[in-house]
Symmetry: C2
Subunit: 188 residues, 2 copies
DNA sequence: CCCTTTCTTGACCGTAGAGTCAAATAAAAA
DNA sequence: TTTTTATTTGACTCTACGGTCAAGAAAGGG
């Protein structure tokens, strides 16, 4: 009945997501998106309406993927340990300057009331909730208040992600992690 | 012998600094700078050479001012307490979305090798050193390692400054502060 | 195989960015 | 007051941005 799209929409969103993740929203040009996706301007606009709308879809995809990473299979404390170890190990890599797309976007859009500002803040709240769920899964908890621990965990994650973008200092980043992990009597 | 400048250079840098602080480097246009300083483009370029060079002068001024804030007059522990109380109180204000110019710039320029990237990282290191000096001024120290405590303090400051740009949650921000202050047996 | 409908292409548009420059202006020395 | 020299002005350039659109291409139902 009519011509169909030549490309996979989800795949294209993933490719765009990776560019936005690395370069930020303003730092990414339509030309960057064309190059990354292999599509022409018209196709991108025809399918995704606008740069901002495409970005919102990328945020959504990033959030959905992030959520799956919070599925705890096994000991929650060990999960948290591995989670932070990965953050530090990825963070110190010289080529890694991306941080976390959700946190990056919260910062980038902080002085706007735009749709991306709202969506990134919502996703940040979801990540908070995910941390809380992990904390709740810990058995034999000591006296630690769940909310406090959750706050400390997401703050440490935020700090490692953002500081590692410009400070490739493993000792420093490990210290951030261990400062919160000591509340769980663990260390990396 | 020749015409002199009609304006105060340092005053102009301060005005420019406040714009960069609020809007970021990329987010600030030459038009913003003209409006804020009351000068025309040509004068700005004639005096400061380029947007980037003006920004470097702004970073320097911000750093110099920041350094004066680390002069501890009295009990260092009380100084730290007031320091973090101010960070939280300023952070929750709805109109405050500025954070810290040094930390903002470290993030904004993290994926470049530009002069502002270098200068902001240098200033971050200076702030670290300033925190270390305050820690060293604490008498009757418990077993806390100086470097660890310094790292925890600057990380908490970073987190409060950046997270408060998009999350106006006093309980959350206070928790970040108190989590590090408890190492000094104090709280806000 | 044709027709309808949608997708694809890339030239094009308007706007806004940083930076330039020649002419006008004014401070201060002589 | 004149001369010298630097500053001030704003119109200008060039480039890059996000976004549009008319024409051509192709998928798939009939």
């Amino acid at each position: 009945m009519s011509r169909t799209t030549d490309f996979d929409k989800e795949e294209t969103i993933t490719k765009a997501m990776n560019i936005f993740w690395t370069k930020g929203y303003e730092g990414t040009t339509m030309r960057d998106l064309q190059t990354a996706t292999g599509l022409q301007k018209g196709s991108l606009y025809n399918t995704f309406k606008s740069k901002e709308n495409l970005f919102l879809l990328c945020l959504e995809k990033y959030g959905a993927n992030s959520a799956t990473l919070f599925y705890v299979d096994g000991d929650p404390k060990n999960y948290i340990k591995k989670f932070f170890k990965r953050l530090v190990d990825e963070g110190v890599k010289e080529e890694n300057v991306s941080g976390c797309l959700i946190m990056n976007s919260c910062i980038e859009f902080s002085n706007t009331k735009s749709a991306p500002a709202k969506k990134s803040k919502d996703l940040f709240a979801t990540v908070e909730k995910n941390f809380e769920n992990v904390v709740n899964a810990i058995k034999n908890k000591t006296t630690h208040d769940t909310h406090e621990l959750k706050t400390n965990l997401i703050t440490a994650a935020f700090s490692i992600r953002e500081i590692s973008k410009f400070k490739k200092d493993k000792k420093f980043l490990k210290q951030i992690a261990n400062n919160v992990l000591k509340e769980l009597d663990i260390a990396i």
